[in-house]
């Protein structure tokens, strides 16, 4: 009996982590709408954000089926301290606001998007053999869509770093320097991580992280970057509800319409 309830908790925790990561990642991506470097990129990154929101939605739907409440409510009506997303994904795109003087950093977007999409691809691959069947099924579908996302961000990453253009290269290096110290948060499985692994839900943090480093190392080498990759959780572990003011502000903005009438049906 006790084991079963622990299993339920571990499944729900994992789903919340996956959902909240994709949700805030998609939101930050959507803030680029109309601001991307060129029109085709605007179409592409908007399309990727839309797919990603679809991924968040299906994870929230699985939680709904497990009795955690309506997907819209899960997405819009939970305070920052209840969110499980990794901190690196909630950080603003840059100074300013998308409506007023956005001074967003495309290099940071490319680095964060590439790193995250590669990490997500590894997690989703691991979820193929998840002992919780509905999640294993969803992982199949997510992976097919993710294929194009990963190709897209890898292309940007390699092109900007391999461009030989001084500003592009230095801004990309700065963005890598900004992303690494918090990126381990993406691999954190939180306080029920051990149970998740024991129950066969997903591989452990260290294994996922190792596979990620193996995946990005040849890309780093191809653009002449040093391959000593060290990541951390400088600002804390989002899986435990630790977050920054950036998330608080984002939640306030994104739930503005929802909050005007929580009972409205769309």
């Amino acid at each position: 009996m006790r084991n079963e309830s622990l299993k339920d908790i571990a499944i729900k925790e994992l789903l919340l982590q996956l959902a909240d990561d994709d949700f805030i990642h998609s939101y930050r991506g959507a803030e680029w709408l109309g601001l991307a470097p060129h029109i085709e990129e605007d179409v592409a990154s908007a399309s990727i954000s839309q797919d990603t929101m679809g991924h968040a939605a299906i994870y929230y739907k699985l939680l709904d089926e497990l009795g955690e409440g309506d997907a819209d409510k899960l997405a819009h009506d939970r305070p920052a301290k209840e969110r499980r997303n990794a901190i690196i994904l909630e950080l603003v795109n840059g100074p300013g606001h998308y409506m007023k003087d956005p001074d967003y950093d495309w290099a940071f977007a490319v680095v964060r998007n590439y790193f995250y999409t590669q990490a997500k691809a590894i997690k989703v691959q691991s979820l193929h053999s998840c002992s919780y069947e509905p999640l294993a099924e969803v992982a199949q579908k997510v992976q097919m869509e993710l294929y194009y996302h990963l190709m897209h961000w890898k292309t940007w990453f390699v092109q900007l770093l391999g461009s030989g253009h001084l500003e592009a290269v230095s801004r990309m290096k700065a963005a890598i320097g900004k992303t690494m110290p918090d990126f381990a948060g993406v691999f954190s499985l939180g306080q029920y991580g051990e149970e998740m692994v024991e129950l066969g839900l997903i591989e452990g943090e260290a294994d996922l992280q190792k596979k990620w480093i193996e995946a990005i190392t040849p890309i780093f080498e191809s653009v002449g970057l040093a391959t000593t990759i060290e990541i951390g959780m400088a600002r804390g572990d989002g899986r435990n509800g630790q977050h920054t003011e950036d998330l608080e502000k984002a939640l306030k903005t994104l739930s503005e319409v929802y909050a005007t009438d929580k009972a409205a049906s769309w």
């Binding site: 839309q50 797919d51 097919m144 869509e145 194009y148």
Partner: protein, 165 residues
């Protein structure tokens, strides 16, 4: 009072009239979105596969299916469910569906990708192979934007969605 027996054949016939909300030359059947239809008395259950998880047209399609099937007086309840599994893949599109896409100016998805993940489609207007990829991502999740260097038309292609290992 005699009851009218429903059969799945009639249901499939009606589903042929439910088109993709944005591509009115292709039905949801030809897109391979309908996985199963079952009839029980006056109740019809349609199991469908989403093309893309974030596709905003899914709820419109669901509504259109319900409306279409309720045209039959013998149908009382319609339930439409999107399944998680199996995953929709672009090779589920029928030959008729591919022809319908071309009529709309959209190249059907290629059967397979090359080993490096690249793929090729021909221009839906002039059949030329002399085309360039402008953007893998297009106006909807399932489409890409290409350009035909022969007839100088921009066109769209259905993005291949293939099961990866």
């Amino acid at each position: 009072m005699s009851t009218v027996q429903l059969n799945t054949e009639e249901i499939y016939k009606l589903l042929e009239d439910v088109k993709d909300p944005e591509i009115d030359t292709v039905s949801i059947l030809d897109l391979g979105m309908v996985q199963d239809v079952t009839v029980s008395g006056q109740d019809v259950s349609v199991k469908m596969l989403p093309t893309f998880l974030g596709c905003p047209a899914l709820s419109i399609i669901q509504k259109n299916v319900e409306t279409a099937l309720k045209q039959l007086p013998a149908v009382k309840n319609v339930s439409v469910e999107f399944l998680r599994s199996p995953s929709w893949t672009s090779d589920r599109i029928t030959e008729k569906g591919k022809a319908g896409l071309k009529v709309f100016g959209i190249s059907p998805p290629p059967r397979q990708m090359k080993s490096d993940g690249s793929w090729h489609v021909d221009c839906p207007y002039c059949e030329s192979t002399y085309v360039t990829m402008e953007n893998i991502f297009g106006p909807t999740a399932c489409r890409s934007i290409l350009y035909c260097r022969a007839c100088k038309n921009p066109f769209e292609a259905m993005k291949p969605m293939i099961k990866l290992i």
